[in-house]
C-alpha cells in the first residue's frame, strides 16, 4: 500500500514540477494569489483523498507498463489537441472538433485512474504549452480528472454495483444540466461579458446524451466497453467541468449563472459530443492496433 501511495504522490509531484517548469520556460511567474493556490491545493488533496478511499483496489497498481502508458497517453493527448486546436481548427457551427478529450477517458478506462489522470493532466499542460497559451493548473487537473474517473470503472464490477445506476446518474446529470440552461438561458459570456442566449447548449447537451444512449443500444451487443466508456467518460467530463466552472467563481469572479450556464454547459456539451462521436472510432482503431500488436488491456 505504501508503495502505491508513494507512486501516486510521485505522479502528483511530477505534474506540479512540469507546471513550474513550463511557467519558467514561458517566462511567467507562478501566481501566489490565494485563490489559485488554495484551489490547486484542494484539488490535489481531493485527488489524494480519492486515492486513499480506493487504494485497496488493484486499479492503482502502477508498474513500468502503466508508466509507459502514461507517457504515451500524455504525448498522444498533446499531439491530437495540438493538431485539432492549432492546425486544423475544425468546427461545425458552435461545436468545435477536439477528439483529444477521448484520450484520457480511454487511457483511464483501459489502464486505471493513475494513467488516466497523468494522461489528461500532463497532456493538457503540454498541449497548452505547445499551442502557445498560458498553462492553468485547475484546467489541467480537471482534464486529469476526466481521465481518472473512468479508471474507477472496475470498482463497480468488484462491488457488484449494476451499471444501470451509473447510467441513471449520468442521464440525470445531463438532463439537469440542460434543464438548468432552459430555465435561465440568457447570461453574460464568461470572458467577454456579452450577454448571450445559451439555449443552443441545452439542446447540444441533450443531443450528446441521446447519442450516448443510442451508442449504448447499438454497441451493447458488440462490446460492453463502448457503453461503459461513454458513461464513465461523460461522468468524468461533467465532474471535471463542474470543478473548473465553479472554481472560476472564485478564481475569475464569475457569477454563479455565468459559471454554470456560460461556462459549464457549453464546455460539457462540446466535450460530451466529441466523446460520444469519437470514442467508438478511437476504440475501433485501438482494437485493430491491439490485435496487430498483441497489447493486453487491463479491463
Amino acid at each position: 500500500m505504501r508503495k502505491r501511495t508513494f507512486t501516486w504522490l510521485a505522479v502528483l509531484l511530477i505534474f506540479l514540477l512540469l507546471f513550474l517548469v513550463i511557467k519558467a520556460v514561458i517566462g511567467q511567474g507562478v501566481s501566489y494569489k490565494q485563490a489559485p493556490l488554495i484551489l490547486t491545493s484542494v484539488s490535489l488533496i481531493v485527488l489524494f483523498g480519492l486515492y486513499l478511499l480506493t487504494s485497496r483496489y488493484d486499479i492503482w497498481i502502477v508498474g513500468p507498463k502503466q508508466v509507459l502508458y502514461m507517457g504515451v497517453g500524455a504525448g498522444l493527448y498533446m499531439l491530437i489537441r495540438y493538431l485539432f486546436t492549432a492546425i486544423l481548427q475544425i468546427s461545425f457551427g458552435k461545436i468545435s472538433i477536439h477528439p483529444a478529450v477521448c484520450i484520457p477517458v480511454l487511457f483511464g478506462f483501459s489502464f486505471g485512474p493513475g494513467v488516466g489522470f497523468f494522461t489528461g493532466a500532463v497532456g493538457s499542460l503540454l498541449a497548452d504549452f505547445a499551442i502557445g497559451w498560458d498553462v492553468f493548473p485547475i484546467w489541467s487537473i480537471a482534464t486529469g480528472m476526466t481521465g481518472m474517473i473512468p479508471g474507477f470503472m472496475s470498482l463497480l464490477k468488484e462491488e457488484n454495483i449494476p451499471q444501470r445506476y451509473l447510467s441513471t446518474l449520468v442521464i440525470l446529470l445531463i438532463i439537469l444540466s440542460a434543464g438548468m440552461v432552459f430555465l435561465h438561458p440568457v447570461v453574460p459570456e464568461p470572458w467577454t461579458g456579452e450577454i448571450k442566449d445559451y439555449t443552443f447548449w441545452a439542446y447540444a447537451l441533450l443531443m450528446g446524451g441521446a447519442i450516448m444512449i443510442a451508442n449504448g443500444y447499438l454497441m451493447e451487443q458488440r462490446d460492453l466497453n463502448f457503453v461503459s466508456i461513454n458513461l464513465w467518460g461523460a461522468l468524468g467530463i461533467i465532474v471535471s467541468t463542474l470543478l473548473t466552472s465553479l472554481g472560476d467563481i472564485w478564481l475569475n469572479n464569475f457569477s454563479l449563472e455565468t459559471a454554470l450556464i456560460g461556462e459549464y454547459a457549453p464546455y460539457t456539451a462540446i466535450d460530451l459530443l466529441n466523446l460520444v462521436l469519437f470514442a467508438p472510432l478511437i476504440m475501433a482503431a485501438y482494437h485493430a492496433a491491439r490485435n496487430r500488436l498483441g497489447v493486453r488491456v487491463q479491463s
Binding site: 468545435s96 502557445g132 453574460p188 461579458g193 456579452e194 450577454i195 464546455y267
Partner: protein, 619 residues
C-alpha cells in the same frame, strides 16, 4: 519492491523527458518558429526599409528609414516625384545616425492631387509610394489605429495588411509600443517597417512612441527629470523619437525638456479633420510625488511601487499639483480647440486613455485596486486635461492598455466630456480585463454586461460602452480572440457630423460576413456628444445668413474663458452654456468674424434669435 522501484524510475525518466521536451519546444518556438528578425544590413539596392509621411498645411514631412549603411556609403538620400511621367528630384537630405533616417521637409506642397514618389539612395536603392491628395471633399474620413505590437510574435502581419488595404483608410495612427525590444531600437524598428511598411507607403501615418518604445516598462516622464519610471537614457529617447516622429508636422513648441529630450506634440489637419497629437507620458508626474508611508498608514497596500492592491479611498491618491499633460500641452490644447481652420471635426491622438479601464491584469488575472501607470492618475490633472479637450468636441483615440474600450469621460459628472476609443493590441502578450465587481447593469441579449456608469479605480467618472476582453478559453480556437487582439477604425462623417468606432479582431477577412467586430461595436456618436455636459442655460439661436458651416465660439464674459468652439453644420445653432450670465459669441467663416458681446443666457424654453451676416461686413 522491485516493481515499484522500476515504476518510480520510469516516472522519473518520463519527468526528465518531459522537462527536456518542454525546454526543447521552448527553444524551437524561439528559434525555428520565429522568423529571423534581427536584420540591420541588406544588399545596397534594398537599403531603404520603409517610409512614413504626413502632409499638413501644404507641408510634406517624409522620413525614409534606412538599414545600416556601410561607413564608406553615400549619406545623401533623394526624394523624387513623378511629373508628366518623369521622375523629378525635389529634395535631398543627409542620413541621421544612429537612427539611419532620412527626413525630408517640402514646403508649398500641392496637396490637391496624388503624387507618386520615389526615395533613392546611391544608384541602386529606390523605394516608391504615393503621397495622397488631401481628401477635403470626401464625406467620410477613415482612420485606422493600432497599438501594442508585442514581440511575442515577430512574424509578418498579413491579416492586418490585407484588411487595411480593403478598408483603404485616409490616415493610419500607431499609438505606441510599436516595438518592445528595449535596447536596440533600430533593429526592431526595421522589423516594424517590414510588418507595416506596405500600408504606410501609400497613406499618411501618425506614429507616437510609448513607454516600451523608449526603453521603459512604464513611463512617468515628469518633464525629463530622472527618477523612478522616468526616461532612462536621453540619447536613446532622442533616437526613438527621431525615428518614429520626425515625419510629423513640426512640434507646437520644440523647446526641449530636461536632459535635452525633445518634444513632438503638434497638430495635423487632414481631410478637414483636426488631430491633436499629444505626449501623455512626457510631462506626467512621477509616482514618488505620492507619500507612500503616509498612504500605507491610511491602509493603502502596494504590491509594487505602481500597483496598489488595497485602496480604502481613491482620493488618497490624488495629488492636485500633479501633472498629466503639463502646462505646455494644456496651453497647446487651449489654442488647438479654438482653432478650426480647415477643420470640421476634431480628434485627440495620444498614447493611453485618460481613465483606468482595466481591473484584472496579466496571466494570473490579478485584480488591482489601482494601477498608477494608467492616465486615470493623477485625477486632478486628468480632469484638467479633459476640461480642455472637450472644448473642441474632440474624440480621443489611443491604445496602450492591451484592452480595447469605448468610454465616455466624465469630469464633474458622468458623460460631461468626450468619448475615448482605445485600440486592441496588435499582439497582446499581457492581457487585461474590464471586470468591475458587482452585478451587471443590463440583461439585454446581445448587449455587453458591465456597461454603463462606473467610477474607475481612481474614482474618475466613466461611462463604459464597449470592451474587448481577452477570451482565453480552450474551446475558442482563435489565438487572436483569446488575446483580444485586433485594430480599430474610426470613421468621421463630415456631412452627418457623426463618428463611428469599429473594433476588428485579427485573423479574419473583414469582408467575410462571418468576421464580426468585437461585441459592442460598432458605436456611432455625434460630434457634439464629445462635450456631453448638460446645459444649465442657453444663448439665443445664432442664425448666419450668408455662410455655411461657420465657427462659433462662446466666451464667458465674467471669466474671459472660452467655453467651447465648434464648427457648426449648417447656418443655425443654439449654443448651450453651463452657468447663467453674459457671454460673448464669436462667429467666423474663413476670413470674416462677427463678435456679439454681452449676450444674456436664457432658460431653455425662452427662444431668441441673433442674425449674423459675415460677408456683408467684408463688403
Amino acid at each position: 519492491m522491485k516493481r515499484t522501484s522500476r515504476a518510480l524510475l520510469f516516472l522519473a525518466v518520463i519527468a526528465v523527458l518531459s522537462v527536456a521536451f518542454i525546454y526543447g519546444l521552448g527553444f524551437l518556438r524561439r528559434t525555428v518558429l520565429q522568423p529571423k528578425w534581427k536584420i540591420t544590413k541588406v544588399p545596397e539596392e534594398e537599403v531603404i526599409g520603409f517610409v512614413l509621411y504626413t502632409v499638413d498645411d501644404q507641408v510634406l514631412n517624409l522620413t525614409a528609414q534606412l538599414y545600416q549603411l556601410e561607413p564608406e556609403a553615400d549619406r545623401t538620400v533623394r526624394l523624387e516625384i513623378k511629373m508628366d511621367g518623369e521622375w523629378e528630384q525635389i529634395a535631398t537630405t543627409e542620413v541621421w545616425e544612429p537612427e539611419f533616417i532620412a527626413p525630408f521637409q517640402v514646403k508649398d506642397w500641392d496637396d490637391s492631387q496624388d503624387h507618386e514618389y520615389r526615395v533613392r539612395h546611391g544608384e541602386k536603392a529606390a523605394y516608391t509610394g504615393l503621397i495622397r491628395a488631401n481628401p477635403l471633399d470626401k464625406e467620410e474620413i477613415v482612420v485606422a489605429a493600432f497599438t501594442g505590437n508585442g514581440n511575442s510574435d515577430r512574424g509578418p502581419r498579413p491579416d492586418i495588411i490585407k484588411n487595411i488595404q480593403r478598408i483603404d483608410p485616409d490616415l493610419l495612427f500607431f499609438s505606441g509600443d510599436q516595438v518592445y525590444d528595449h535596447q536596440d531600437h533600430l533593429v526592431s524598428w526595421l522589423l516594424w517597417g517590414r510588418q507595416f511598411g506596405e500600408i504606410t507607403r501609400d497613406r499618411p501615418t501618425v506614429v507616437i512612441p510609448d513607454d516600451h518604445d523608449v526603453g521603459n516598462a512604464n513611463l512617468w516622464g515628469n518633464g525629463g527629470e530622472p527618477g523612478f519610471g522616468g526616461y532612462q537614457d536621453p540619447a536613446y529617447v532622442r533616437q526613438v523619437e527621431n525615428a518614429q516622429t520626425s515625419h510629423l508636422p513640426d512640434p507646437y513648441d520644440p523647446t526641449p525638456i530636461q536632459r535635452g529630450i525633445g518634444t513632438y506634440y503638434t497638430s495635423l489637419t487632414w481631410g478637414r479633420i483636426g488631430f491633436a497629437i499629444l505626449e501623455d507620458r512626457k510631462f506626467k508626474s512621477q509616482i514618488d510625488i505620492l507619500d507612500r508611508e503616509m498612504l500605507e498608514s491610511k491602509g493603502v497596500v502596494f504590491s509594487r511601487p505602481d500597483h496598489i492592491e488595497q485602496l480604502p479611498d481613491p482620493d488618497f491618491l490624488d495629488v492636485p499639483e500633479g501633472t498629466l499633460l503639463g502646462e505646455r500641452q494644456l496651453a497647446f490644447l487651449e489654442e488647438w480647440t479654438a482653432d478650426w481652420s480647415g477643420q470640421d471635426m476634431k480628434a485627440v491622438l495620444s498614447q493611453a486613455p485618460f481613465a483606468a479601464v482595466a481591473h484584472l491584469h496579466g496571466p494570473s488575472r490579478v485584480r488591482l485596486a489601482a494601477d498608477l501607470d494608467s492616465n486615470g492618475w493623477p485625477q486632478s490633472a486628468r480632469d484638467r486635461a479633459l476640461g480642455k479637450i472637450r472644448k473642441g468636441f474632440a474624440i480621443m483615440i489611443n491604445g496602450d492598455q492591451h484592452l480595447a474600450t469605448v468610454i465616455q469621460q466624465g469630469v464633474e459628472d458622468f458623460g460631461d466630456a468626450g468619448y475615448s476609443f482605445s485600440m486592441p493590441s496588435v499582439v497582446n502578450h499581457y492581457r487585461r480585463w474590464w471586470s468591475p465587481e458587482g452585478t451587471t447593469n443590463t440583461d439585454e441579449e446581445g448587449a455587453l454586461a458591465y456597461t454603463g456608469q462606473y467610477l474607475d479605480n481612481f474614482g474618475n467618472k466613466i461611462t463604459m460602452y464597449a470592451y474587448a476582453n481577452p477570451n482565453p478559453t480552450r474551446t475558442t480556437y482563435n489565438r487572436w480572440l483569446s488575446q483580444g487582439a485586433g485594430f480599430g477604425v474610426t470613421r468621421f462623417n463630415k456631412r452627418k457630423r457623426t463618428i463611428t468606432m469599429e473594433c476588428w479582431p485579427r485573423g479574419c477577412d473583414i469582408t467575410d460576413p462571418t468576421c464580426e467586430q468585437y461585441p459592442g461595436w460598432p458605436i456611432t456618436i455625434t460630434q457634439e456628444e464629445n462635450y456631453g455636459r448638460k446645459a444649465t442655460a442657453y444663448l439665443p439661436t445664432i442664425q448666419v445668413l450668408d455662410a455655411d458651416d461657420p465657427v462659433i465660439q462662446v466666451v464667458n464674459d465674467s471669466t474671459g474663458e472660452t467655453i467651447y468652439t465648434l464648427r457648426i453644420h449648417g447656418r443655425s445653432y443654439r449654443p448651450k452654456v453651463f452657468q447663467k450670465g453674459t457671454y460673448t459669441i464669436k462667429v467666423h467663416s474663413r476670413e470674416n468674424q462677427v463678435v456679439v458681446t454681452g449676450v444674456e443666457s436664457l432658460p431653455e424654453e425662452v427662444r431668441e434669435r441673433i442674425q449674423i451676416q459675415l460677408k456683408e461686413k467684408e463688403e
